[in-house]
């Protein structure tokens, strides 16, 4: 372990104390024992932070565990990251696995990997091409989902909500089978109890209730009840039990 000019780096195994740093880098196995403030926190090995983290940039390409809250301007996860507290990250990009026990609030979230959140997810823009499981409400001005695995959120609400079938579906049954294999046998679809938004367009979505101004229901959807105020379009390859203009 070396320390110079407020930077700390662990490349074997080591422990870093809490405090203020310019740069922290863990490429072996490291533990941070207290609260830290850092401009840059880079975990490419196995790192665990026991305290609260406040950072400008966090990069997790190995396996990172945050036992408390994480506040960051930018966080990139290409390996796996777990946040046991709350995550408030302005820009969250995940191509690996991101797990949060509590809620995640952000301005921009882009996930191509796997996202699992125990609470609510809040953002201005939420883009997902992988799979996700959100136990609470997914709320964003713009929700863009390209189904690439099993997607689940208890509820979804926002201004514009677009759920599109993943690109693989057209490519045939073989790939479909492969995806199922990877996603644990389940169907690659979005399942939610309720979607509310001003402009909603859905594909491969199962929902109990969809409410909105302008709604388009595409192929592969199974919707219990739709309440719309301006327009509704339903694909012949979709099942809608009840449609109500309000």
């Amino acid at each position: 372990m070396s320390q110079e000019r407020n930077s700390a780096s662990i490349s074997g195994a080591g422990v870093i104390n809490g405090g203020t740093y310019t740069r922290i880098s863990i490429s072996g196995a490291g533990k941070v024992t207290g609260d830290i403030t850092a401009e840059e926190l880079r975990i490419s090995g196995a790192g665990k932070v026991l305290g609260r983290v406040e950072a400008t940039q966090i990069t997790a390409s190995g396996s990172a565990v945050f036992a408390s809250d994480v506040i960051a301007e930018e966080m990139r996860v290409s390996g796996s990251a777990r946040v046991d507290g709350r995550a408030r990250v302005k820009e969250l990009k995940c191509s690996g696995t991101f797990k949060a026990g509590g809620s995640v609030s952000s301005e921009y979230i882009k996930t191509t990997g796997d996202l699992r959140v125990g609470g609510d997810v809040e953002a201005e823009i939420f883009k997902a091409t992988g799979g996700f499981r959100i136990e609470g409400l997914l709320s964003a001005d713009r929700v863009e989902i390209h189904i690439g695995g099993r997607c689940h959120a208890k509820e979804i609400g926002g201004e514009r909500i677009r759920v599109a079938r993943g690109g693989w579906k057209e490519k045939g049954i073989l790939l479909d089978g492969l995806i199922k294999l990877f996603t644990g046998g389940g169907n690659a679809e979005l399942v939610t109890a309720q979607i509310e938004g001003d402009e909603i367009s859905l594909e491969d979505t199962t929902a109990e209730v969809v409410r909105g101004k302008r709604i388009e229901i595409g192929p592969g959807c199974e919707i219990g009840r739709i309440e719309y105020s301006e327009s509704l379009d339903v694909d012949p390859d979709a099942v809608v039990k009840e449609k109500v203009k309000v």
Binding site: E122, S139, A140, D141, E159, G197, E208, R211, K213, E227
Partner: protein, 239 residues
């Protein structure tokens, strides 16, 4: 209280002409408290309802205020996390009719203070608010009693407490008569809503402190804008 009249989310959108996008955005910003979202099962499935008067008042205010204030600043003002360091322009108190000589005297505020660009803290403003609501019914001694009670509570985190529970300020009187001599005692009490008193006690006035605090934040702080009045605090968070 469960007997508040409720309004469904659909009705809110329709009556106030707002969109789902706005409602969810305001919820995210903490402008509409989580506790106002009441889930109920109806014959069409789960629906969300709101306490009617509260949500209508809140949304109308948001709509008015967002004309001149960025949403994030607005959030600073209304988030459920009350900022104790929030300051209120002293002159606003008078313009809004919160101050007259009796209140000024009871609060020990210097009458010339408004000549300078002075401010008072939220707890002071709360005290002024209570006193100006008591003024018509309370005696000078009772005003002093109320002030003492509020000052005492302010030092032990009253503002923070109001945020979490519905607290009311009560001015009570009890008349004691025996052997031809009668006396009256006055009590100033801060208690949760629904506090019960013995039947001989007269509730002279009860003041909802949560409502009062909101009024302070909306009406008094708003006039100044947050730029020089609100200390920015990392307070947005879990609803």
């Amino acid at each position: 209280m469960n007997d508040e009249r409720l309004i469904s989310k659909k009705e809110v959108l329709e009556e106030l002409g707002i969109s789902y996008g706005q409602l969810y955005r305001w919820k995210r910003k903490g402008l509409i408290p989580e506790t106002w979202f009441i889930r109920q099962s109806t014959f069409t499935g789960q629906e969300t309802f709101f306490p009617r008067d509260k949500i209508i008042g809140r949304i109308q205010r948001i709509k008015e205020m967002k004309e001149n204030l960025p949403l994030d600043d607005l959030a600073e003002l209304i988030t459920t996390q009350v900022n104790e360091k929030l300051e209120v322009a002293f002159s606003r108190l008078r313009t809004l009719g919160w101050l007259d000589d009796q209140v000024v005297e009871a609060c020990h505020l210097h009458p010339n203070r408004e000549a300078e660009p002075e401010t008072v803290s939220v707890s002071e403003a709360l005290c002024v608010g209570v006193l100006c609501r008591l003024e018509k019914v309370a005696s000078k001694e009772e005003m002093a009693l109320a002030k003492q009670t509020l000052d005492g509570a302010a030092t032990s985190g009253l503002i923070e407490q109001i945020r979490q529970e519905k607290l009311l300020f009560y001015l009570l009187r009890k008349r004691l008569a025996a052997a031809g001599i009668s006396a009256q005692i006055s009590l100033a009490v801060i208690a949760q809503e629904g506090a019960r008193f013995d039947p001989e006690i007269e509730v002279v006035r009860s003041i909802d402190l949560q409502v009062l605090l909101e009024t302070i934040r909306f009406d008094l702080v708003n006039g100044r804008g947050p730029a020089n009045g609100v200390e920015h605090e990392e307070s947005k968070g879990e609803s």
